[in-house]
C-alpha cells in the first residue's frame, strides 16, 4: 500500500438498514379509515368486497404504503431526511376478520450518492412471502 489513508464508507449498497413486521386486523383498517378519511367500504365490509369481486376485505393501499416507510423513518430519526417516497400497488392485502394479516418490511440500500450525501432505500414488503408493493423506494439524506 502506497498510502495509509483509509476511505471510510459508512454504507454499502445491499446493507439492510431496517426490518420490521406489522400485524394488522380489521380494527387497524377502521382506524386508518377514520384517520385518513378514506371510507371506501371495501376496507371494512365483506359483502361489498365480495360484490365487486374481491377475495375479501382489503387493507387500504395507503395504509400499507404508510406503515412500510416507518422502519426507515425510525432508522433516519429525522423525518426531514425523507426526500421522496414511491410505491406501486401490485397485490392487494386481504385482511382476514379473525387472523388479520402480517406485513413484513425489509429496507436495503439500493443506491448511494456519496457526494450528495443521499441514497435510495429499496423496500421489500411482503405478506405470506408474496410481494405486495412494487418499486417501493425511499430517497433519503443519509444519517
Amino acid at each position: 500500500m502506497s498510502s495509509d489513508e483509509v476511505i471510510v464508507h459508512r454504507y454499502e449498497v445491499g446493507d439492510v438498514v431496517a426490518e420490521a413486521t406489522y400485524s394488522i386486523d380489521r380494527e387497524s383498517l377502521v382506524r386508518y379509515a377514520g384517520a385518513s378519511g378514506d371510507f371506501n367500504a371495501i376496507h371494512y365490509r365483506d359483502d361489498v368486497a365480495e360484490s365487486v369481486g374481491l377475495p375479501g376485505v382489503l387493507a387500504h393501499g395507503m395504509l400499507t404504503m404508510g406503515l412500510a416507510v416507518q422502519p426507515v423513518v425510525e432508522w433516519l430519526r429525522d423525518p426531514a431526511r425523507v426526500l421522496d417516497y414511491q410505491v406501486k400497488f401490485t397485490r392487494p392485502v386481504v385482511v382476514d376478520p379473525v387472523t388479520g394479516a402480517t406485513i413484513a418490511v425489509r429496507a436495503v440500500i439500493g443506491q448511494l450518492d456519496e457526494a450528495a450525501g443521499t441514497g435510495r432505500i429499496d423496500l421489500t414488503v411482503t405478506v405470506d412471502e408474496a410481494t405486495v408493493l412494487g418499486k417501493a423506494q425511499v430517497r433519503v439524506t443519509l444519517p
Partner: protein, 146 residues
C-alpha cells in the same frame, strides 16, 4: 374518460389546517413510533414547530384534489372503477401541525391501455407563505367498462 382533463386548470383547495391531534391520530394509524410524531417537546428539540406528520400524510391533501377530479361531471370517471396503481411523494419539507396548506391538481397524463385508462394526477401542496411543501403524484387506473 375525458382526454381534455390534461389541459384543465383546477382550483386550489381551500386552506387545510393541520391539527395536532389529527397528526397523532394519523401517526397511530400508520404504526408510527417516532417521538416527533407525538410529542411537541420532542418535535421542538428536533427543530420543528410542532408534531411532525408521517410521510404518507400528504395523501389527505391530495385526496381533496382527487375528489375534485372524480367529482367533475364531465370527467367520465366512475369511482367504483378506480384502482390506485401507484403513489409518490416529493418532499421539500415534512408537514407539521399548524401548517395551513392548499393543494392544486394537474392531470399530467392520460394513457389508454387495453380498454383501461391510466391517469397521472399531480397535486402540489404549498403552505400559507406560498412555499412548496410536497408534491403528491397518484396513478389511477380506471377500468374500461366504466
Amino acid at each position: 374518460m375525458n382526454p381534455d382533463l390534461t389541459e384543465r386548470e383546477f382550483e386550489k383547495t381551500s386552506p387545510y389546517l393541520v391539527g395536532r391531534e389529527k397528526v397523532r391520530e394519523f401517526s397511530r394509524a400508520v404504526f408510527a413510533s417516532s417521538p416527533v410524531n407525538f410529542s411537541v417537546e420532542a418535535a421542538n428539540e428536533a427543530g420543528f414547530a410542532d408534531v411532525v406528520a408521517p410521510p404518507s400524510f400528504a395523501i389527505v391533501l391530495q385526496q381533496l384534489t382527487l375528489d375534485q377530479l372524480i367529482g367533475a361531471e364531465d370527467a367520465g370517471i366512475e369511482l367504483t372503477h378506480v384502482v390506485h396503481g401507484a403513489q409518490q411523494f416529493r418532499y421539500t419539507r415534512p408537514i407539521v401541525a399548524g401548517d395551513e396548506l392548499t393543494a392544486q391538481l394537474s392531470v399530467t397524463s392520460i394513457k389508454t391501455l387495453g380498454g383501461n385508462a391510466m391517469i397521472t394526477a399531480e397535486s402540489a401542496v404549498h403552505d400559507i407563505r406560498g412555499e412548496h411543501v410536497v408534491t403528491a403524484i397518484s396513478t389511477l387506473v380506471v377500468r374500461g367498462d366504466a
